[in-house]
């Protein structure tokens, strides 16, 4: 098992290197110079030149690439132009909120998606299946940024006007008076702030998992071993929840890896809309400000988490499926 994990980790190294390379060249081969766009026109050219030298921008591309790569993998992500702070600090600060958002969403979409898919498969072609199918396709077709705005409008901004008994906080991760709350109050405050962003992402993303689970279940239900299980006299519930579900969930595990990029793409919108202090919002701002070190570092971290996610998915799959041997 340990050997298998080690081998997979080693296998991921070229992938990570490749991604870092793509990021570097996309950013550095783009037309225009970061300093020219970022700094004031009135700055004298000598000063600009000095700044360029300070950032190492006067050296040949390949030299810069090598320097960047070596410092990058030693944890030195450089210095942010826009924030005037080390990039590593910014990342440390924003990675947490993003992972909280992504983690909660991940748990919710798999729980809700699998449950929906199983219900649909068991009730195939009956009204429940049809209604759930159309509903999930409906949410699946929604842009998350729009759904987020609508939920904010409905459950927060206009909640009292429309007679809802509660109104969720529209933006941010904590309330203004957060510092003065008790521990329980702090927890509740954070939780209520999580509701809208997580709900937005989950509604859009759970649909895909539900559809996939339904398809897998339907495929498995027609397998011979399901007939065998029924021939033993097992009740329908056991047949579905033990024999069919276990087999259907195996391929669903692989979705974990596939959903990581989608999750982070989605969280960019959600963070922007709900002013969530995460990496998604930082990267959008950084791109607008042409803050290249920050852009490169954040997109690399995103990609790294994605690679790790699919690695975890692969390992989980190997553990769960007895047919895969990892020795």
């Amino acid at each position: 098992m340990a050997a298998y994990v080690a081998r997979r980790l080693l296998g991921a190294i070229p992938l990570v290197l490749g991604i870092a390379t793509i990021i570097f060249f996309v950013v550095n081969l783009a037309p225009g110079d970061p300093t020219a766009l970022y700094f004031n026109q009135n700055v004298p050219p000598e000063v600009l030149e000095q700044i360029r030298r300070n950032f190492g921008l006067d050296q040949p591309l390949l030299v810069r690439y090598w320097k960047w790569l070596t410092s990058f993998f030693t944890g030195d992500f450089g210095y942010s132009f826009a924030h005037s702070r080390p990039v590593a600090d910014i990342i440390l600060e924003t990675l947490g909120p993003t992972l909280i958002l992504a983690g909660c969403t991940l748990v919710l979409i798999f729980a809700a998606g699998i449950a929906t898919g199983v219900i649909q498969a068991v009730r195939q072609h009956r009204p429940a299946d049809r209604i759930l199918s159309i509903t999930s396709l409906f949410f699946y077709s929604m842009p998350s940024f729009w759904l987020g705005l609508m939920l904010m409008l409905l459950l927060s901004l206009k909640a009292h006007e429309w007679g809802l008994p509660f109104a969720l906080p529209p933006t941010g991760m904590t309330s203004v008076d957060y510092e003065f709350l008790s521990f329980g109050g702090k927890l509740a405050d954070r939780a209520t702030h999580l509701v809208l962003p997580v709900l937005t992402l989950s509604l859009v993303m759970a649909a895909g998992i539900a559809r996939y689970t339904r398809g897998q279940m339907l495929e498995v239900i027609h397998q011979d071993y399901i007939r065998t299980a029924r021939a033993k006299g097992l009740p329908g519930r056991t047949v579905v929840l033990k024999h069919a579900l276990r087999n259907s969930l195996l391929p669903v595990i692989t979705l974990l890896g596939l959903y990581m990029p989608l999750l982070f793409s989605g969280s960019v919108f959600v963070e922007v809309i709900f002013s969530w202090p995460g990496m998604g919002r930082v990267i959008v701002d950084a791109i607008f400000q042409r803050d290249y070190p920050l852009v490169m570092a954040t997109s690399f971290i995103f990609a790294l988490v994605v690679v790790l996610g699919s690695l975890v998915a692969d390992i989980l799959y190997a553990v769960a499926d007895p047919r895969i041997r990892y020795d």
Partner: protein, 341 residues
């Protein structure tokens, strides 16, 4: 009273393309401790018959009103799903054609055997495991205490079929339905499995319904035979009668199509054509469009099962009109090597 009695079983599939009458008025019975063979080509309804007995026919299939399946005097067709579950795997068990796909790939084989024991016998986990090992031993699996924890993919096809048998035998059923149990296996393994089934029957005293298209298998292990064609029983009787003096042209055709070492010259006979689609059975005798003896009567009127005496019955007008048989055979050979190209 027979242990298992099927009377006028009709299982129809209501599809958008019409009603497929997969099983259309089948009757047979099985006595305690005997081996009944059900023979026929693919599509004749033999598998659906066995699934009907198990109550495992799935949508859009339905056992029609008026069908009756009794086990030990109990009517099964009117039982609730819950009551039927108590019978399935307990009193009547079944093994399937494909040992490769009939075992759940994600559970150890021992667990899959134990499951049946814990369900019907209420055994504890440990007891069930012990019994599972005994059962694996019974079906001739070497080193059962190790095999019990292995997954299906670690076993060969023959081993898996043995596991299937062990699973079916777990609760010592009175009736074991074996649907083509050897078709997917190598010839040498086939013989071993058949031998095992026969031996287990003797030891445990259960009845076996053996569903197969292989007449060689039937001759080897069966006491009585039911020949099915197009959703009906066309001939039934003791194995000696069926092989010794078959009455129905279809049975004769099947027998003539079996390679026999004692008949070396000539080619094998072939029954022309294929089984018609179950949505559209022919009128009259369902075999008439493939039958060398067919005449007006056979095309118009369905023959009843004529009693030939000695528990031997045949659904063929030739029983009433033997002159027709001579007439045809005078002009050309029927079901011999030369009849078919």
């Amino acid at each position: 009273m027979a242990l298992l009695e099927v009377r006028d079983l009709r299982t129809y599939f209501h599809t958008e393309g019409g009603v497929a009458k997969a099983v259309d008025g089948v009757s047979f019975h099985v006595e305690r401790g005997e081996v009944l063979g059900i023979v026929g080509e693919s599509g004749c309804g033999k598998s659906v018959t066995s699934l009907s007995v198990m109550g495992l026919v799935s949508e859009p299939g339905r056992i029609e009103e008026g069908s009756s399946i009794t086990y030990d005097g109990r009517e099964l067709t009117t039982l609730s799903e819950k009551e039927m579950r108590g019978i399935r795997g307990n009193d009547i068990a079944m093994i399937f054609q494909e040992p490769m796909t009939s075992l759940n790939p994600v559970f150890p084989v021992g667990d899959q055997i134990s499951e049946a024991l814990r369900l019907h016998r209420g055994l504890k986990k440990k007891e069930a495991r012990g019994r599972a090992i005994e059962l694996l031993q019974l079906v001739g699996i070497p080193v059962p205490e190790r095999r019990v924890d292995e997954y299906p993919h670690q076993l060969s096809g023959g081993m898996r079929q043995r596991v299937m048998i062990a699973m079916a035998l777990a609760n010592e059923p009175d009736v074991l339905i074996a649907d083509e149990p050897t078709t997917a296996l190598d010839v040498t393994i086939q013989a071993q499995i058949l031998e095992l089934l026969d031996e287990l029957r003797e030891r445990l005293g259960m009845a076996i319904v053996l569903i197969t298209h292989d007449l060689g298998v039937v001759a080897e292990v069966c006491d009585r035979v039911v020949v099915m064609y197009a959703g009906q029983v066309v001939e039934e009787g003791p194995v000696g009668d069926i092989f010794g003096r078959p009455s129905h042209p279809y049975t004769q055709g099947l027998l003539a199509a079996v390679p026999r070492p004692d008949r070396r010259e000539g080619t094998l006979a072939v029954i022309p054509g294929t089984v018609p689609p179950p949505t559209n059975w022919p009128t009259g005798c369902r075999f008439h469009d493939r039958c060398p003896y067919a005449w007006d009567l056979t095309r118009e009127k369905m023959p009843p099962l004529f009693d030939l005496g000695g528990d031997h019955r045949s659904r063929c007008w030739l029983v009433e009109h033997p002159e027709r048989r001579e007439e045809v055979e005078r002009t050309r050979p029927v079901f011999t090597g030369g009849a078919a190209q």
